[in-house]
Symmetry: C2
């Protein structure tokens, strides 16, 4: 009898298109709880997200436009086939193509016969220096205001932006956001002040010798000068030497370059909805990465969590009413062209409606919660699942969902959701050589995949 | 005027012994919020807990009874002096003294000319093998029941306990608790079945080549046989070979030994209460550690967090009404004699009352919350501070406080509190060579110290 009851319940939850009555509601809640427990148990036992990340990491760094980014597209197609996804396809995206080159040097010239190397990396998008390098004096500033106040004193100099990321707040993303202007606009601000190059302190609270790169933008109409990031140890060292002698010169050599745009791809695969296949729930991360590490946290984690979420749902033989789709976006790091392309194509995709999109792009750390929709009223209908999410290790649901890749879907009424892991350690590795597989914990990574799988299931069946 | 108001407020909160009125309550709440923010800001900026841990780690492993444990006592005394604590003193504790020795070998004998080394470590408290080692066949079991069911088949054999730690639950301490019987009682259970030694699979969900040691107990009246833990890779390898040929023999060599007990010490230092100095709030961790790593998480973290909490309170020039005391307990790992000694001496300490004791002994990971008291009614008066703790990164307050070191104080009516960080990564390193400084994140460690400082302050001023 009990078996009969359970199988009837199963039929009810999955095949009843009518609003659930109170009795059915209670049954559905039991069913959701069972599914959450099974997702967690399978996920933690198999830790398959980590296996996926291991394989992705073998390709190496996946800089937008690079051969490895193309290899990652092919690899992901194959992974999707192996996972038995449906409707697997590529979506073309024209992306920029910047190459780091093989010369990145900064030497502090102490005397005619002595110089001190500082660890630097070109900032993504920077032009090269002349082949013989740039040799110039240095002015150190902590802000654009301070630079402006210098008046003519930055003319002909390398402008050294040395405002540290604020360690004193728990909100590391906030602290990052408050420091990143130096990296993004530093070159153009330096040029406007007559500077010949920008050197930017890496945005991390760690004191080590790893430069943390990232994107920069040349302001239109402003003279372009090269820009490189210094490791935090490099920045401290330079600052100390400049205190001893403000006239020290630095020689900077970079041979990075911008190449013509290339055609790259978003990679897409579905578990097709069996009732409303045109109602789509997207799970996604971005396939491109920075090139100093292998982008294990940023955003290999989000990619493999999306794939693993679909694998877990298939493993449980759940047949969702709506289509649950994994999208590996291309080019989050150099302008978000993949996310834009997906959204603009989505509008024209044969009658598809994007119900919701969940983005994971904050590293593969311990899950904290989901940010869902714009405000509390968007979030309201999810509140009843708070204890369900707590049972799989999350602490909260909050408003404020979004992200570079899913953001463009927002204008179509898609509910935007961000998966939020803890970020106390994120900026230790972010955009640096430390962002490799070894910095990811298999359980923490998997817990995110489990949470995304559960939320996708609820969005498909219960929303 | 505003300054005057703030300084009056200060006086009010700190020097008013009467119950606070509603208006005063609101002012006190503002003051608590300010203090929480300052503790966090100072802590995260300075990350001094990590500096303390760095210095402690240089001593090396601090196995109970060892020369390094004694060095750690001296070192901690000096740290307390440098921090300007008062009433600094040592408390004698008689502790066991077991030494690992320098021979730990397990060879699976594949043929007369070929053998395969398996990575093992003696379990703490084990006797040695004879100098020539023990060479015997192996029986693999997953539980004591399975061993009993073997009847005579374990006679003369090495009993191999190979039940893995369950990876499928979020509660890693629970999973550890469900596997640890093999390590603690395995030797005696093996002996009762006629076995000549016990080999125990390390208690971790990671598959690697690090043995995880820990304590064992010989059941009184049962023949003593040696016991070692195998790395999880070693355990998997052995199991696979036994499937191919159940008659394979293993040779085990250990020269660990039990030495006469030695006198060691708890290390104690206070911020003396200026109003009720005899009312004590203890913050503590244990100074001894296992010897394969340097006990950075277990429990260097708890020790330095306790010291750092007091440093932060002093830094803010807070003068607590009650005495806030750091206790570095000796010998948590080999029987908890330090905790017992402290509690039994506490009873006779000239009129001291122990209001509360906070133990940190679950690693230096991301803070989750505090477990306070036995039940919800013990916790009730803390509920009003939930949002205050959330502001410094904690997620919850729950009942169920305790711990090996503070547990003995419980019989004296002391409120027992456990600091609870996330434990998803804890058993990756626990009791193994991986438990070193490098596995600790400075921010995560510091956040725990900040939380302990705030709770100690509230217990002193507001409770």
């Amino acid at each position: 009898l009990r078996k009969l009851f359970i199988s009837l319940l199963f039929v009810n939850v999955f095949f009843c298109p009518l609003p659930l009555k109170a009795m059915d509601r209670a049954s559905a809640d039991v069913r959701c709880k069972e599914i959450a427990a099974k997702l967690l148990k399978n996920g933690l036992t198999e830790e398959y997200a980590y296996t996926l990340l291991e394989r992705l990491s073998r390709i190496g760094p996946r800089l937008t436009g690079s051969a490895q980014a193309a290899a990652a597209v092919d690899h992901t197609l194959k992974e999707m086939k192996d996972l038995g996804l449906e409707n697997i396809h590529l979506e073309s995206v024209q992306v920029g193509h910047w190459e780091r080159g093989d010369v990145e040097k900064a030497m502090l010239i102490l005397s005619a016969w002595e110089s001190l190397p500082l660890t630097v990396a070109a900032i993504g998008g920077s032009i090269a220096t002349p082949a013989e390098g740039i040799t110039a004096g240095v002015v150190e500033v902590r802000s654009f205001e301070e630079l402006h106040d210098l008046g003519d004193k930055a003319r002909g100099k390398v402008v050294f932006f040395n405002r540290p990321m604020d360690p004193s707040t728990l909100n590391t993303f906030g602290a990052y956001g408050s420091a990143v202007d130096q990296r993004i606009q530093g070159a153009s601000e330096a040029a406007k002040a007559g500077g010949v190059a920008a050197l930017v302190r890496s945005i991390t609270t760690r004191l080590d010798n790893n430069p943390h790169t990232g994107m920069m933008i040349y302001e239109s109409g402003v003279h372009e000068v090269p820009a490189a990031c210094l490791s935090t140890i490099g920045a401290e060292t330079l600052s100390q030497y400049l205190k001893k002698n403000p006239d020290f010169k630095i020689r900077l050599e970079l041979n990075c370059r911008q190449l013509p745009p290339v055609i790259s791809h978003n990679v897409i695969g579905d578990i097709a909805g069996h009732e409303n296949p045109d109602e789509i729930i997207v799970l996604g991360g971005h396939l491109d990465s920075w090139d100093l590490g292998t982008g294990a946290h940023d955003d290999g984690a989000g990619c493999v969590q999306s794939l693993e979420a679909l694998r877990l749902l298939k493993k449980l033989r759940l047949k969702p009413k709506r289509t649950i789709r994994a999208v590996m976006f291309m080019d989050e790091e150099f302008g978000g062209t993949g996310g834009k392309a997906y959204a603009s194509n989505a509008k024209f995709r044969k009658g598809e409606t994007h119900i919701a999109a969940i983005e994971s792009d904050r590293g593969g750390f311990l899950p904290l919660g989901f940010r869902i929709g714009r405000n509390e009223s968007d979030l309201q209908s999810f509140r009843k699942w708070e204890s369900l999410f707590q049972s799989i290790g999350l602490y909260w649901l909050r408003p404020g969902g979004g992200g570079v890749d899913i953001g463009p879907l927002g204008t179509q009424g898609t509910l935007l959701i961000s998966y939020i892991p803890d970020a106390q350690r994120y900026f230790d590795v972010h955009h640096s050589a430390l962002d490799t597989l070894e910095s990811v914990n298999p359980r923490e990574l998997e817990m995110g995949a489990v949470a995304m799988a559960l939320l996708a299931y609820l969005l498909s069946e219960e929303f």
